[in-house]
Amino acid sequence: MISRTEVSAQARESRGRNGPLVEVQEVKKHFIRQVSPLAKACGKKNIVLKAVDGVSLKISKGETLGLVGESGCGKTTLGRVILKLYEPTDGRILFEGEDIGGYSATELLRFRRKAQIIFQNPYASLNPRKTVREIISVPLRNRGVKDPLKREEETIKLLGEVGLSDRYINNYPHQFSGGQRQRISVARALAMQPEFVVADEPVSSLDVSIQAQIINLLDALQGRHKLTYLFIAHDLSVVFYVSDRVAVMYLGEIVEVAETMELFDNPLHPYTKALLSAVPTVEAKEGKKRIILEGTVPTPIDPPRGCRFHTRCFMKKGKVCETEAPRLTLVDDDHLVRCHLFS
């Protein structure tokens, strides 16, 4: 059993020592759907979907930052923006202190080597027309392994690392189960020898017993390759298990960030509290008071004024929640909240 306090102490040390490995500064990502010129003439405006609206984060080397939120909160978009798969509308991403926005093609390739992604959907994230060998050779080639023999060796080694026998090397994705496909995705990400991996809901589509296998695999690989993870998920129990720190997102904003244990022991933001109480657990506490949130998630196209959560909040402070947007404030040692109750 790993003691939580040990891990957090290590992580805190690492955070203090060097700068963060990844730094997200006030990043915004808006998707604009243009309305036709005719509609514009009639007064209709472009539809702007504010998927990510001002997010700042720091991820230290070696740590696992969990990012939770429900659908529409922008966590998947944020993950892709961090890897430059989407261009941010505003703000910057710093990797190892450098602004990745200004990268040239060669610098970008170098960045891609260090930062990789594992996707959620094991069925869509592998090219159905390519064999496993081809799927893993491509990143190997991009990494600079020119000799096909060397690539073959590396591929077999990678497959071994993720627990797949090399006799599968000639097979196509549709011949594998969901869990095996995820392993192939992990092998592909590892092929680039990254330092930083964004895991976008890597276990959400898998069966419970397979989830455990993949989680344990990711854990082992982190230790072996000294990886830093951004673990995006909507399943709180999984996030609790894998993360050192957790950030909670709602409607494009971070509403709370804290070390894992601290967040689960002492959630401050009302949304976090509701989220935690909504998770069904096997240890059914009799008479557990479950917080049921009213209403549905507002649309990111037109988020509510003031605090975005105020339409569903059960702990409103007052009128200020409806008019003024709260800022992310430091409450405790390393515990940030975006709520008027604490500003």
């Binding site: 059993m1 790993i2 003691s3 939580r4 429900e70 659908s71 189960s177 869990g179 069966d207 419970v208 017993s209 397979i210 989830q211 455990a212 296998q213 989680i215 344990n216 909507h234 709180l236 129990s237 999984v238 609790f240 298990y241 894998v242 244990m261 689960f264 509701a274 989220l275 935690l276 109480s277 909504a278 998770v279 069904p280 657990t281 096997v282 240890e283 059914a284 557990k288 479950r290 917080i291 049921i292 949130l293 209403g295 549905t296 998630v297």
Partner: protein, 344 residues
């Protein structure tokens, strides 16, 4: 002859013939559902829980078919009933809520119309008995009463603006609201048995909490039983009184939720519980069940779980085990609890 049972299933077997062989999706299962009870069917994908539900309503898609067994509902065997009878039962006596509301609701009809369709088909209208009202007499009382009943239902399931929601199309509602509409359809004819196949899997956690809360509240007020199919043990733990664990088409453990989850008897149940990450003070390492779900076409072993079982022994290969009642109401299918081995 125990007449307390609402549903008594014996020896149910449903197969799917495929090019490679016959898939035994459901293999000789026996279980009961009492009146006014919430039973959870738990298992991973492919274990046969959804097919069981479809078998009860005889909605198994071609080429699958139920080839054996008896489903006693209210004293009569559903498998022997005529199709017109089944049509009358579906929706009215036994209703089903499916997993993904986006694909279950018809996108080209208004939500209110779809709820009303159920009432109309079964000729149930508040205040009016089940006497058929011919279509040319429908103006006035029949239609209006139906509409009122629909609005009542929409409000009961917690839709915020029933009048407006009635007129809306499914895509105009959020996932949670769509699911509520589906529940409204399910409850509209006051069925005795409600089958819910993973009703919250496609929804966010907070919405899932709302929907499950709704289901619990509505169940409490009625004389309806609910079979909740889910892969989430947490959900089953918090909402079901009894739990049935399925693996590879068979029931491996069954009993009161508290008993099964606190003191699981079957190695699969134990394995499943150990592989779920929990939110606890100390990080407990999760342990995965080795191997993968077997190919249902040829199950080479007597016990389908044997290749993955930590407690397997050669005895497991000798013969197939039946469900054995180890404690009151708690049944297991496992060689570990075989009386014969214990005695020897």
């Amino acid at each position: 002859m125990n007449n307390d049972y609402l549903l008594k299933v014996t020896g149910l077997t449903t197969i799917f013939p495929t090019r490679r062989g016959v898939v035994k999706a459901v293999d000789h299962i026996h279980f009961n559902v009492n009146k006014d009870e919430i039973v959870g069917f738990v298992g991973e994908s492919g274990c046969g829980k959804s097919v069981t539900m479809l078998s009860i309503l005889r909605l198994v898609p071609y080429p699958g078919k139920t080839i054996d067994g008896e489903i006693l509902f209210d004293g009569e065997d559903l498998l022997k009933r005529s199709l017109p009878d089944m049509r009358r039962i579906r929706g009215k006596e036994i209703a089903m809520i499916f997993q993904d509301p986006m694909t279950t609701l018809n996108p080209v009809f208004k939500v209110g119309e779809q709820v009303r369709e159920s009432l109309r088909i079964h000729k149930i209208v508040a205040g009016v008995s089940e006497k058929a009202v011919p279509w040319y007499r429908r103006h006035g009382s029949g239609k209006k009463a139906e509409r009122l009943r629909v609005l009542e239902l929409l409000e009961e399931v917690g839709l915020p603006a029933p009048e407006e929601n009635y007129r809306q199309y499914p895509h105009e509602l959020s996932g949670g609201m769509q699911q509520r509409a589906l529940i409204a359809i399910g409850l509209s004819c006051k069925p005795k048995l409600l089958l819910a196949d993973e009703p919250t899997t496609a929804l966010d956690v907070t919405i899932q909490a709302q929907i499950l809360d709704l289901l619990e509240r509505t169940m409490r007020g009625r004389d309806t039983s609910l079979i909740l199919v889910t892969h989430d043990l947490g959900v089953a733990s918090e909402f079901c009184q009894r739990i049935i664990v399925m693996y590879a088409g068979r029931i491996v453990e069954m009993g009161p939720t508290v008993d099964v989850l606190k003191a699981p008897k079957h190695p699969y149940t134990t394995g499943l519980l150990k592989s779920i990450p929990r939110i606890t003070k100390e990080k407990v390492k999760i342990k995965s069940i080795r191997g993968t779900v077997p190919d249902l076409i040829n199950l080479p072993h007597k016990c389908a779980f044997y290749p993955r079982c930590e407690k397997g022994s050669p005895a497991c290969e000798e013969r197939e085990m039946e469900l054995v009642e180890v404690e009151k109401g708690h049944w297991v299918r496992c060689m570990l609890y075989d009386e014969r081995t214990e005695r020897s």
